[in-house]
Amino acid sequence: MKHHSPVRPGGVLVALTAVGALLAGCSSDAKDSKASSSSTSTAATTSSSSTAAAATSSSSAATSSSAAPSSSSSAAASPTETVPAGLKPVKISYLVPAGTGDEEIAKPVIEAFEAANPGVKVDLQTRPGGADGDNLVKTKLSTGDMADVFLYNTGSLLQAIKPAQSLLPADGAWTADLDKNFVAAASVDGKLYASPWGASFGGGILYNRPIYDKLGLKVPTTWAEFMANNAKIKAAGITPVEQTFGDTWTSQIIFLGDYHNVEVKEPDFAANYSAGKVKFATDPNGLLSFQRMEQLAKAGVLNKDFASAKLNDGLTAVAKGTVAQYPMLAAAAGQIKTLVPDKIGDVGFFAIPGDDAATNGMTVWLSGGVYIPKTTKGDKLAAAQAFQAFLTTKDGCDAETKGQAPAGPYMSKPCTLPADVPQWTKDSQVYADAGKTSTALEFKSPIKGPALEQILIQVGNGTSSATKAAENYDKDVVKAREQLGLK
């Protein structure tokens, strides 16, 4: 899902600027482990009774309509058949963040869904992206004012909207088709709440292929090779690496994208991190992620306007070849189609290089989720569930592709990528095919320190050392854990 920090007024609708929200995203309250017993039990009672009520109304809606396979989990039929044929004519509202490219994806999807379900209308509504949007979603859910279906992050931000209290668990045969990493990221306490929205994508380095060809460079698989490439590029009079701190969230890509390299060396890093047992300042692999940023800053390989440039500047630069490499999410590269359409084939992708060429791989960001709040009832609920199911079908994904070229695999088995995907998607696919991928830390842990982007900017502009930054981030993480009520 592309849901990102504030959209700049006057700016172009940055399709997928928004991806950054995944990065910008930080987690919020998760569990009331310390909640006073009375309030906990009340909440529990309320939620279980309303689950029952919702389930009842859902099943009654199901019985009233002739075919309602979405609630029969035994149907092992092909996904297209899981869309209920006999939905009552009803209008449901669908809430997505604005200015993030999601509207563009939603339009063809809604068109296809309405065509497949005559009588059902989907009213597309928008909300702000980024942290302001998160707060709006929480407010709407807590006051019972949420749209019938809505788009929100999977991963660390999901716990903050209290799924057990506010959302209906996802149900239906289609859940069996989902990617297991997505299921893990869209579940809380073993219950799945979402259907996937859009494709997954990698986070790594976009590079200008003509420059690599001209200088005879090889795509680096180790950090040493990467730095050697940078030296050669610099010697040739070209800016080696772009950074764009004008959009603060973009400062996080090198750090977050390095997570695969951390995980191959420490497979239980995420679990230990969530439990507070591992600190970035004291864990050599974690600290290395901060040091990579520091090395780039110290090597003098960054663009001159790194402090003020924005995402679109970076994408334009790497496509036009004024800079050789730009650490970015592959999904954000989709914007190049609008910015520099004739250079779209010049941009390739490689994962953040690690210490060992043999284990080098890609860190993956999963799709956002489409959720149903508990306030959706009756015929609307049946339609909303059909909408959730539709997104996992081939028709659903093809409609999404029409809205935006996918930068990586879809999260549902029946979906396939089109043949004419951009180069960066093909490059990403190589890692996926080789099984050399890890899901980003923010999908594996509910905790993300909210100040990460600022801390990394301090490393990038030289006002903080990597060690100091790691210590600061550890403190930020401790605070986030406390505020989530985790011990």
Binding site: N135, K138, P450, Q458, K479
Partner: protein, 330 residues
């Protein structure tokens, strides 16, 4: 704008007058420092206002619901971990966390620098402009309007405009400096300069209001003083130092208080221009608080607001008392 109107902006309690009978039964408006005798006459027990109390009922309800109630409730939520769905009592933990916040130390320092700098510049520049605009110059009315104009523009609009103007590579300011052979600084993206750049814009935007208050103060000085001074052969500087400056003290106090409070709780302009960045270089207390809110740490950000409330009170109450204590002696 009259001084009395400006006076409404200060809490009446901060201008105690010795020997005045209890104010509780009266509705006397906040007194002008020089209004002692009149106030005493008005505040007799049998004094009845021209309007009944229920005239304030409607505004009081709005004020109560949207200001008093949230304020009171916030003191409770400051002691909880709150996610909008549930809140859990955590005692003083939020305050401890808030004071350990790494950006807070920078934020506190920056807040004070920002408040002192903007309020100082507004007083000095505002006074200078007011003196200029009350003297006999050409196009005075036009200049007064022009000078007040920035105050009327939306803060966010001003912030975004200056962000573009101050862009180190493409901005108009640095391009203009370039033509004179000066390579301009990086303004908002230089960690050492960002706060001062924003402060300058704040002064540009806020000096108009300060000037208007000063103009009101200067215009209300009886012209006899100036005539007498001229007869005695006083220089312009002497007139300014011995008449204008001391007699516009109430206006000065107002400007200092308003701009200082404004500086302490300043947020919108900083958020529009730097979001507290680069890194944490231009964070102020209010932006640190807002970031906690953005992160969904509602209890923690409420605690931060309570701290900011107390901080402003602790700084401004004595300042207000000090500024309003003395009567002007000529």
């Amino acid at each position: 704008m009259s001084l009395v109107a400006v006076g409404h902006l200060w809490p009446a309690a901060t201008t105690p007058t010795k020997g005045t009978p209890s104010m509780a039964t009266t509705r006397a408006p906040p007194k002008r420092p020089t209004g002692r005798s009149r106030a005493r006459r008005r505040s007799g027990k049998r004094y009845r206002g021209a309007y009944p109390y229920w005239f304030i009922a409607a505004p009081a309800v709005v004020y109560g619901i949207y200001f008093v109630l949230p304020t009171v409730v916030s003191f409770y939520f400051a002691f909880t971990r709150w996610d909008l769905f549930t809140s859990t009592w955590v005692g003083l933990k939020n305050f401890r966390t808030f004071f350990q916040e790494q950006a807070l130390v920078i934020g506190l320092k920056n807040t004070l620098i920002y408040a002192v700098l903007t309020s100082g510049l507004k007083v000095v520049l505002g006074m200078a402009l007011a003196v200029l605009l009350t003297s006999e110059i050409r196009a005075r009315g036009y200049l007064r309007s022009v000078m007040f104009f920035p105050t009327l523009v939306s803060t966010i609009g001003v912030g975004l405009t200056f962000t573009v103007l101050m862009n180190p590579e493409l901005g108009v300011i640095n391009s203009a400096l370039d033509t004179f052979g000066i390579s301009g600084p990086s303004w908002l993206v230089d960690p050492h300069l960002a706060l001062y750049s924003v402060a300058l814009v704040d002064v540009w935007k806020g000096v108009g209001l300060a000037t208007v208050i000063f103009i009101a103060g200067i215009v209300s000085i009886p012209s006899e003083y100036y005539e007498a001074a001229r007869v005695d052969g006083a220089s312009s500087w002497a007139v300014f130092r011995l008449i204008t400056l001391p007699l516009s003290k109430p206006a000065t106090a107002t400007v200092i208080l308003l701009s200082f409070i404004g500086g302490l709780r300043s947020f919108d302009l900083i958020w529009a221009m730097t979001k507290g960045g680069p890194g944490f270089a231009s964070d102020v207390v209010a932006s640190v608080i807002y970031k906690q809110y953005q992160a969904g740490f509602y209890g923690l950000s409420t605690a931060g607001n309570v701290v900011l409330f107390l901080l402003i009170t602790v700084i401004v109450l004595p300042l207000s008392w000090l500024l309003n204590r003395k009567q002007v002696d000529l």
